[in-house]
Symmetry: C2
Subunit: 340 residues, 2 copies
DNA sequence: TTGTAAGCGTTATCAT
DNA sequence: ATGATAACGCTTACAA
């Protein structure tokens, strides 16, 4: 990996490194002829500036850190896709970190990010995270941070989220409109902002249609399959069986399908199933699975734009904003909708 | 972002930077008491070594670059998951690049990687890539490179692949065993190594069972949905309709489902559908969709291990190997299998 | 227009 | 056991 440096060019041309440096970038104060020679030589030696030296000098890395619970989750990989697109266009690299839904791991990630001297951080909190001192410290030290999807109110910065309230409202209302009254809501970690927003949307839809809220129909579970199945089993072992289940993730829907199948409960005849989803393979799914699609890609893009604006100090005094992007209700089997 | 440096500690303690440096790492040649004081002060100032300065000095970045066609593809996001796990454990960071199946973009990615001074590269080639001079140059300059999934024979290095031949063979044989004779094979780019291997497996299964190979049943298509649908339409407009379609990706299977639905062809009664898949939501799929699952996570892990061994020169004279991991045939609806 | 020198944070070498 | 200095690659006052 022998790579030519500015010194090599200087030596080859009998110039000083500063002249070479000037020729290579700002063309001010430089003899056009010298510049030509330098560029030619740089080309010949296949010179590439060393970004590490640059980083050391400028105290910036031209890289942003992204902390997500799991890369291998369609929502986050789509979001990263959006982030990468924007970062790439603006000359930044993306360094990925996974918290694996663990608070401890998230803290370690943040330490790594800080010591890696990334120029900014995009983060979606882990399901375990209940306090954010680790981020607060980083933020007060001046590190630009932008939340997407899962945020904390304790840090005053940009937030880019899906309209979880409206998404849950519409989804729930769709179930109500197709004749369901007993609707269960299978939520994720109660500590997450998205969980609260979704439950509120769910409640609002029930209320609008005069359906009493039944606490037993709302279940929380973490991200392990075992836990999901346990919770679903509990839900289905109650005296009153729901007529529909609204899940907040594909994995939960999957777990539901499995349990329902085991109990010989037919979908959608015996029980309707719907929920938040991010699969790109909609057509491969059971046609009766109506879903609330999140704008993952766009969330990533918007978050990255906001972050890079902060990093590049486009606005001297940042006015932090919360951007809420709409979800989309996708009904696959329209025949089922109007009926009943 | 004011972060304490070794200088700050030295100043605070009236020591030289070299003493502080020694106290901080190698504990040889240092007064235990001095060491204690330094560590205490470092703790107080929340000192974190600057990896950029380290990188400059050591001419290494402790980061590896990963080039994949699309992050937002379950196969690659699972592979990245495996890569990240290994890299994390061994103290490396992962910098992600996407080629978006474009050769030009892949070349740019490689340039970025090189100038970023990553310590090694993991790559799965783009569907457009037919020559690999960009990688050859990097490799001959000494950059460790490991291929996973999609490789080129022109570069002598480690390769980690799925057993595409066997996967396609088993999948095709499964269709044959369930009574199908006219089996179409929907392949990806003909330039990719995986495409060749899979077609060979497909052919071998046909041959084993005495079914003549029909060229019209093998179609190539690129990664755009439009192209997929066009090719599938062509396939279904031929004089002899296949009884089964073997697809090499989830997106292709999806496109098939769409077209088949439009033409009112029932699955699996009129036409069986199966193929390579990487979805984690198997249970959400149509129960008749049999799939050949690729060991994406493990491929990422193995590739990362091999790369980091190269990077750390564990073996002075590397013996490059090709690791082939088995695929898994997952039959969801066992009732259909034995019948017919 | 070009060269000299200092500095970014760290470590290794060579004094002391 | 500790300190001074050079070096990693690059930019930028400041000098010439």
């Amino acid at each position: 990996m022998e790579i030519a440096t500015i010194k090599d060019i200087a030596k080859a041309l009998n110039l000083s490194t500063s002249t070479v440096s000037r020729a290579l970038r700002g063309s001010y104060e430089i003899n056009p002829e010298t510049k030509r020679i330098v560029l030619e030589c740089a080309e010949k030696l296949n010179y590439r500036p060393n970004p590490i030296a640059l980083s050391l000098k400028e105290n910036r890395s031209r890289a942003i850190g992204v902390v997500v619970p799991e890369i291998d989750n369609p929502f986050f990989s789509q979001a990263i896709n959006g982030i990468e697109a924007i970062a790439y266009n603006r000359g930044y690299h993306v360094v990925i970190f996974q918290s694996h839904e663990s608070y401890d791991r998230e803290v370690v990630n943040i330490q790594h990010l800080a010591s890696r001297r990334v120029d900014g951080v995009l983060i979606s909190l882990s399901g375990q995270t209940t306090h954010v001192e680790h981020l607060k410290e980083l933020h007060t030290k001046g590190m630009p941070i932008v939340f997407f999807d899962r945020f904390s109110d304790e840090i005053n910065t940009h937030k880019v989220v899906a309209d979880n309230y409206q998404g849950a409202f519409e989804g729930t209302e769709h179930l109500i409109n197709s004749g369901k009254k007993h609707i269960a809501h299978l939520a994720a970690s109660p500590t997450l902002s998205i969980t609260r927003e979704r439950i509120n949307g769910y409640k609002a839809a029930l209320e609008k249609h005069g359906i009493p809220y039944n606490e037993d129909f709302v279940k929380y579970c973490n991200f392990s399959i075992e836990d999901m199945e346990k919770v679903i089993d509990e839900l289905l072992s109650q005296p009153i069986l729901p007529e529909a289940i609204f899940t907040v993730s594909d994995r939960l829907a999957m777990a539901c399908l499995k349990i329902l199948k085991k109990r010989n409960i037919r979908i959608p005849e015996d029980m309707a199933l719907m929920g938040f989803s991010n699969l790109k393979v909609a057509e491969l799914l059971s046609p009766s699975f109506t879903s609330v699609i999140q704008p993952a890609l766009e969330m990533g893009q918007r978050a990255a734009e906001l972050l890079l604006d902060l990093v590049e100090k486009k606005s001297k005094i940042p006015v932090y904003q919360t951007i809420t992007l709409p979800t989309e209700l996708v009904i696959r089997d329209s025949t089922k909708t109007a009926s009943e």
